[in-house]
Amino acid sequence: MSRSASDEEFRAEVRAWLQANCPASMRTPFLPGDEVWGGRRRTFPSDDARIWFERAVERGFTVPSWPKEYGGAGLSREQARILDHEMRAMGCRSPLISFGIWMLAPVLMEYATDEQKAEHLPAIARGEIRWCQGYSEPGSGSDLASLATRAVLHGDHYVVDGAKVWTSHADQSDWMFCLVRTDAEGPKHDGISFLLIDMTTPGITTRPIPLISGSSPFCETRFDGVRVPARNLVGREGGGWQIAKKLLEHERSIISVMRDRAPEEAESLPAMLKRCGDASLRDRVIQAELDFLCNRLTLERTAEAAKAGRGPGAASSMFKLYGTELNKRRKELRVELAGYQGLGWEAPGFEPGELQITREWLRSRANSIEGGTSEIQLHIIAKRVPGLPD
């Protein structure tokens, strides 16, 4: 794509706007807990974070390429690319971290009615409503299509009964986009529908699930006779599985994105190795660094190919698999390099950075499970290898 003169004008314009509007403290890498998630009960880690959020919302820069009517800035593809490039160059943080933008909105754009779009998209763009997802259930992990949460139509309402697990931040979210079973007969994939549920509806209880890392980003949410207006159905009844498959692909990319936005590590593996002096770990550190480089190059190659209109079929599963497995290896190596100081649970006796090493190692163990286990990714990749039988 050749760059037009107006694109260059646009570049100068956004650069000036970012200089004027993005506070200096928002041009640094994220620290733990610094993300702005929006929502009715939104909080901000600092005044600068609030200012940056509000200005970005005002300018439509939380969703730059969306139409203005939905709260976007109405940018062309090339303009959005320029904005992204300038923000990266300046080190600007994302003003808003949002499952609504990343996961729900693409589905709404494709499947929702105009009324649904008008109701939900602007609130997502402005960070007013925080969304969580309701897919997995206690009995259905990798076998998502076996989900059993029932939604039965009574007049103009669905009555929902069942439970969802691994609902990220459900306890802090305002709405949930949810897969429910509207037909218990027939093929299991055909009885699934996609429903939007206000978390303040009576009959919903949410409990955070403590992880081995000590944090509780996930929840279990129970539905007991929860009445959901029928107009909150997205797409046709029984058409939820098709939507879900799209969403799962989004989710795999999100997990990569989240990793990109994860807090910076204080010290690189080779630097830790030098300080640690345990030569026996060297080969594994080198291999991890080498694989990291190769993975990065492959992301770059895939992006180039995608721009040229091509892409390996199994790319998102491959990056999900390789990225998460590599991340686990790296986090575990950090613990090994830190020695006894990497095995602390709480102060006193351990620095915050040391405790972060421990917690991130344990947290990384969930990466290869959430968003589809590594085993499922291997299965998906194998399906895309030409010629391998099912």
């Binding site: 990798s142 697990v165 006894y340 499970i369």
Partner: protein, 380 residues
């Protein structure tokens, strides 16, 4: 000569230990100590029960109220305690402490009956680095003007330190900080003036302490072995402790493996038990083989120490390398194969996984012992 088969008495001991661990020390016990922020991270009352069963003094000589049995017997009990991640003073007190005190003079050996009775707990304070480096010691021991010694320095990662009554402390009388020569070992009462103990909160919820010694006065009668030659005693303590820790890791690996098999059998996905998926089956079979190999080398190491075989040290390092790797493998696979609930604190799997990581670093990592195994001569 047989070296793997147990005598009927040993078999009975192991069964008794298994029953006790299951009933009195299930994983919930560790969880309870953790959630109540128990300062000692073990139960002295349960330890007295174990002492009544004869386990605290298993390896103490009969003259001092013990059973006079070997390291193999200690290992059998350790293995069963490992199955439930039971936090007891057995390693620090009965494996290390009993051996250390037996090397002392009459005044020191006088602690042994109380140790065997479960009334006196011991901890070994020797580490000063971020990872196992047994001879690195900056803690100094000077002759005091009025006789006896004065100790100054700081020790890290003291296992079972928070509950200890008596500390076995390594200090330096001469030489450079990493020299093997020039060490001296003391038995020091925890309550001595100048001993400052800070309990640490570790990822595996066990009791570990950091201890500062500030001008701590120790009478000459509390020296263990010969000053300057402390490394000889330390080597003996570490060798026995490592083999016993391997037995604990073996038990824990076996338990977490079987918990995983149980889950593979019960959990259904896509209409079948997930244990019927070939990829998971092959991984289970692989773990089974690794466990069998670990079982052999751990047993061989315990027996070799009891028999003072020339290849004992080689076997100890082989056992630690393999037991570490097998525990890491089985517990890591357990987390992954349990899927989502494997990473929740609701299940015990995570506690095994955390313990495996701590066990690996304790007394020298898998990599450390592979290297030591090679330096000692690989025995093939």
């Amino acid at each position: 000569m047989r070296r793997f088969e147990l005598t009927p008495e040993q078999d009975q001991l192991q069964r008794a230990a298994r029953g006790f661990a299951e009933k009195r020390l299930p994983v919930a016990h560790l969880r309870g100590l953790r959630d109540s922020h128990d300062p000692l991270r073990l139960s002295r009352a349960l330890w007295r029960e174990m002492a009544h069963l004869g386990w605290a003094g298993i390896a103490v000589d009969e003259a001092h109220g013990g059973a006079g049995l070997g390291l193999l017997e200690l290992g059998l009990v350790m293995e069963e305690l490992g199955r439930t991640l039971a936090p007891t003073p057995l390693l620090a007190t009965s494996v290390i402490g009993a051996t250390a005190l037996a090397a002392g003079g009459e005044a020191v050996r006088a602690h042994l009956p109380a140790l065997a009775a479960g009334e006196r707990l011991v901890a070994l304070a020797f580490e000063e680095e971020r990872r196992f480096a047994p001879y690195t010691c900056r803690t100094t021991a000077h002759h005091a003007s009025g006789g006896g010694w004065v100790i100054d320095g700081e020790k890290v990662f003291v296992l079972d330190g928070p509950a200890a009554d008596l500390l076995v402390v390594v200090a330096r009388v001469s030489g450079e900080p990493t020299d093997r020569n020039g060490l001296v070992v003391f038995a020091i009462d925890r309550a001595t003036v100048g001993v400052d103990l800070q309990p640490l909160s570790m990822v595996d919820s066990r009791g570990v302490a950091r201890i500062r010694f500030s001008s701590v006065a120790v009478p000459s009668a509390d020296v263990l072995g010969e000053p300057g030659k402390g490394a000889d005693l330390l080597d003996r303590l570490l060798s026995r402790a490592t083999a016993a820790l391997c037995a604990e890791m073996l038990g824990a690996s076996d338990a977490v493996f079987h918990a995983t098999i149980e889950y593979l059998k019960q959990r259904h996905q896509f209409g079948v038990a997930i244990g019927s998926f070939q990829a998971l089956k092959h991984r289970a079979a692989h773990m089974f083989c690794e466990l069998e190999l670990t079982r052999s080398v751990v047993r061989a190491a315990l027996v070799a120490i009891d028999r003072a075989s020339p290849d004992a040290e080689t076997l100890v390092s082989a056992a630690k390398a393999r037991a570490s790797d097998t525990f890491l493998l089985t517990s890591s696979e357990a987390v992954q194969m349990h899927g989502g609930i494997g990473v929740t604190d609701d299940l015990d799997i995570g506690l095994f996984y955390k313990r495996a990581r701590v066990c690996d670093l304790t007394l020298g990592s898998s990599a450390y012992h592979r290297d030591r195994f090679a330096r000692l001569g690989t025995g093939s």
